[in-house]
Amino acid sequence: MQWFDYAAPRSVAEAVSLLDGRPDARILAGGTDLLVQIRSRRRTCGLVVDGKRIPELNELSFDPAAGLTLGAAVPCYRIYGDRAVRSAYPSLAEVAGLIGGTAIQGRASIGGNLCNSAPSADAVPLLIALGAQCRLAGPGGGRTVAVEQFCTAPGRNLLGAGELLVSLRIPAPAPGFAAHYLRFIPRNEMDIAVAGAGVSLRIQDGVIREARVALASVAPVPLFARAAGEALAGKTPGPEAFHQAAEAARAAASPITDMRGTVEYRRHLCAVLTRRALEAAAREVH
């Protein structure tokens, strides 16, 4: 591997001062993207700043009113091993168990999944569906942005110079709320999504009050298909409404053809996965 220096700051402020003025510095969470990229020379990096000794990046706490605080470096195995997460956000526990295999999940974080900003990142559509917010810290102080605004291009995001992701905030699930993520891969596990759909629904008195749909691997960034969710509001959950949302998701997708799939195939998958994810979420509410 190319030479780099290593620092393990103990606070957010220390991390910011290490990153500030060092465009060649990168935060290290689980390293399952970063170290692969440095080794294969897809990324140059002069300073690796280990985020895992910063308390805020390791926080995993649930409050029934405020929701979930998920530190940016919390690895997947802690997420699905957490009782509160499994009961309040089963879809999040499931997606943490979907990334890589067991040994990858021992390291890989959801924060790293988001900051790596791949269009195929499995956790990101679900985070968007869950209405998650990113808490960032930087030289100018802190700010909060919605996950759907975070990724700007393949491998790029709106983190500015010296800025890092501290944690994700996920609202407490309201009564009648459920979310689900589905991806298509040709194997059973350990592969990159050909397409994926993350959805959420809030059903009250038999009517969908709110819905969100986001898609993986069908646009330059994880795609918030706002129209697909809006098509569901006020409707009765069922085949007709879900078909309309699935068609809206298909229309929102702007995929490319590559070795994993063609444009036509990916559009088709968007519709199928959106419909099935909505069906699964609706089953969970009942």
Partner: protein
């Protein structure tokens, strides 16, 4: 440029230290600096699992861990499985079931399977296959590995008081 870093850690329950470059993986540190060559290098990018070790109670691919990150950690490698000359039940079951041919994947499978059985003593076949999906074997076709893990699970259960 930073010089080498002095890392204090514990490997297989024994205090250990090494002097490494920040860019060296834990896998390199184990093999080249600690002389623990049981842990194997396959793909060097997280896919094959040959380099699997235990780190603070969960399994990781040591090719994607920096040696410097081992500071203060508890590391478990395949060398920690046998008690003296007494093989671990998993090691015996691998031998009895011919669950290895070339053997390069074996240390990773053993470390991963041990972590599974410690956490879930009676896993289903589907659970074993899913847990071991991060470990690739080009020789055996997997069935013998799965049977070996099932046999070890049975034997470990019988051995418990």
């Amino acid at each position: 440029m930073q010089s080498k870093v002095h890392v204090r850690t514990a490997i297989n329950g024994e205090p250990a230290e090494f002097l490494c470059e920040p860019r060296q993986s834990l896998l390199e540190c184990l093999r080249d600096l600690c002389n623990l060559t049981g842990t194997k290098e396959g793909c060097n990018d997280g896919n094959c699992g040959a380099c699997t070790v235990e780190m603070d109670g969960r399994i990781v691919t040591s090719c994607l861990v920096l040696g410097v990150e081992a500071e203060g950690a508890q590391i478990g490698t395949v060398e920690g499985l046998a008690r003296g000359t007494e093989l671990h039940p998993l090691q015996k079951a691998f031998l009895e079931n011919a669950a290895l041919q070339c053997g390069i994947c074996t240390p990773g499978f053993l470390v991963a399977a041990k972590a599974l059985l410690e956490q879930e003593p009676e896993p289903s076949e589907a659970r074993i296959r899913l847990w071991l999906a991060n470990n690739l074997c080009r020789c055996t076709g997997y069935d013998k590995i799965i049977r070996a893990v099932q046999q070890a699970a049975r034997e470990m259960k019988e051995a418990r008081p």
